[in-house]
């Protein structure tokens, strides 16, 4: 089976500044890979490249079988990226947001309800406007949107940020469940203890390059 992510000597530039300088990485289906490294190392750029948001300047990049150097748009409806922003509409309720994002892939009402329930957002919380939620609740709403979108590759940038203990446990359980169901997860995080315990593999990102490090679990 082809790897979900296969990068060879990938160079990417943003605003004239090289953000990836020859990155090599292979990720197989069902893996949960932790990307760790200092600020500015290229972790977020790596995630955005895999999401088809950052163009490949040089090198070979295949994600879910799509050649990103030739076409970086066709992969987009198969990946779910949760970056520093949540991608939510503050004036809509939690249910409205999850319904909207689910509808972009044709999710049914039952799937929307299941996504809300999985992130503990069913009941009264589903009717609250996102603008009135805490940071942790907004993060959980964004994750529920990702669940509703049935993404094959989950790209998460600091997903634990702003979550309380219960939210973190729910997130970890959701990611493990998604991976066991066949999804592949890449997590960029500074919370090494928690994310490291979750990951099946840890890689270091330094100076825009990827260094394999260790088997985490």
């Amino acid at each position: 089976m082809d790897p979900v992510v296969h990068l060879e000597g990938v160079v990417a530039v943003m605003g004239g500044f090289p953000v990836l300088a020859g990155a090599d990485l292979t990720v197989e289906q069902g893996e949960i890979v932790l990307l760790r490294g200092p600020n500015g190392a290229g972790k977020t750029s790596l995630l955005r490249l895999c999401a088809g948001l950052l163009p490949v300047e040089r090198g070979a990049a295949r994600v879910l079988g799509c050649d990103l150097a030739a076409d970086r748009t066709s992969v987009r409806n198969r990946v779910g990226l949760l970056g520093h922003a949540n991608g939510l509409y503050a004036d809509l309720t939690v249910r409205d947001n999850v319904t909207f994002w689910g509808a972009t892939v044709g999710a049914s009402g039952d799937e929307i309800a299941a996504s809300l329930a999985r992130m503990g957002l069913d009941g009264r919380l589903a009717t609250v406007r996102v603008g009135r939620l805490s940071a942790g609740q907004r993060r959980r709403t964004a994750l529920a949107c990702l669940v509703a979108r049935r993404a094959e590759l989950w790209l998460l940038d600091e997903p634990h940020a702003g979550l309380d203990a219960a939210g973190r446990d729910e997130l970890d359980a959701t990611l493990r469940e998604a991976a066991s169901a066949g999804a592949t997860v890449m997590v960029a995080s500074h919370e090494l203890e928690r994310a490291g315990a979750l990951a099946t593999r840890v890689v270091d990102v330094v100076g825009g390059r990827v260094r394999p490090r260790e088997e985490a679990s």
Binding site: L53, R76, D91
Partner: protein, 227 residues
């Protein structure tokens, strides 16, 4: 998912946001009404106001539209939703059409209030033979303005200083709509002795404008909002 389905989804979402936030009813409509009142204070002459009423209606529409467009894209960029729409593989043409549809609905409500304001404040007279022309003018101009507003709103969305950049980019482009819609509205209202038959050629210009920006926007929107 087809571009048309995406368009309906995005339009429904945008209109729901406006229904919940009530920015249009509580801020934009009062702003537009205030502009009309200020024109009346500034000109302070019934004859002059009646003569220039069509132009003032469309000027107030365009000033108010800047606020609507800013708002339409502020909700997309505030929490990275536009980026998320791209990642979700949502067809850019569908996003463009959906946002234009929602903007057109808001503009239609705005124009109805402004026309009513012109009749009450400026004593503009609506006559039976001019009604079809007036409706055609408002439909064609609204569609054209919504396409241009969405296109330039998307262009400015990722730019620094977008609040000041948008009027600079957009106002020169909508000048043909201002001219065409004003002339056609003058003909519909019989301003300065104009007859409705004089207004129909302007509908052709407004329709051509709407078609050009509709097709161009649908095709170019993806490149505009990309990196």
């Amino acid at each position: 998912m087809t571009a048309w389905k995406i368009a309906r989804l995005v339009a429904a979402k945008d209109l729901r946001i406006e229904a919940r936030s009530r920015v249009v009813t509580n801020q934009v409509l009062p702003f537009a009404a205030l502009v009309m009142v200020m024109f009346a204070f500034a000109l302070d002459n019934d004859d002059v106001l009646t003569r220039v009423a069509p132009g003032l209606v469309w000027l107030a529409t365009m000033f108010s539209m800047l606020v609507l467009v800013q708002r339409a894209f502020a909700v997309e960029t505030a929490d990275g939703a536009l980026d998320a729409l791209q990642v979700a593989g949502v067809r850019p043409g569908g996003i463009f059409l959906g946002k234009a549809m929602a903007l057109a609905a808001e503009l239609a409500a705005l124009e109805a209030v402004l026309l009513l304001g012109a009749i009450v404040l400026y004593k503009a007279q609506l006559r039976g033979p001019g009604v079809p022309l007036l409706l055609a003018t408002f439909v064609a101009a609204t569609i054209g303005l919504s396409f241009v507003g969405t296109l330039y709103g998307g262009l400015a969305a990722g730019a620094k200083g977008r609040e000041t950049l948008l009027p600079l980019l957009m106002l020169p482009v909508v000048a043909p709509v201002l001219i065409g819609a004003t002339r056609a509205t003058e003909a519909a209202l019989g301003t300065n002795g104009a007859s409705p038959s004089e207004g129909w050629p302007w509908i052709g210009l407004l329709t051509l404008f709407a078609a050009l920006f509709g097709v161009g926007g649908t095709l170019a929107f993806g490149s505009l909002i990309d990196e």
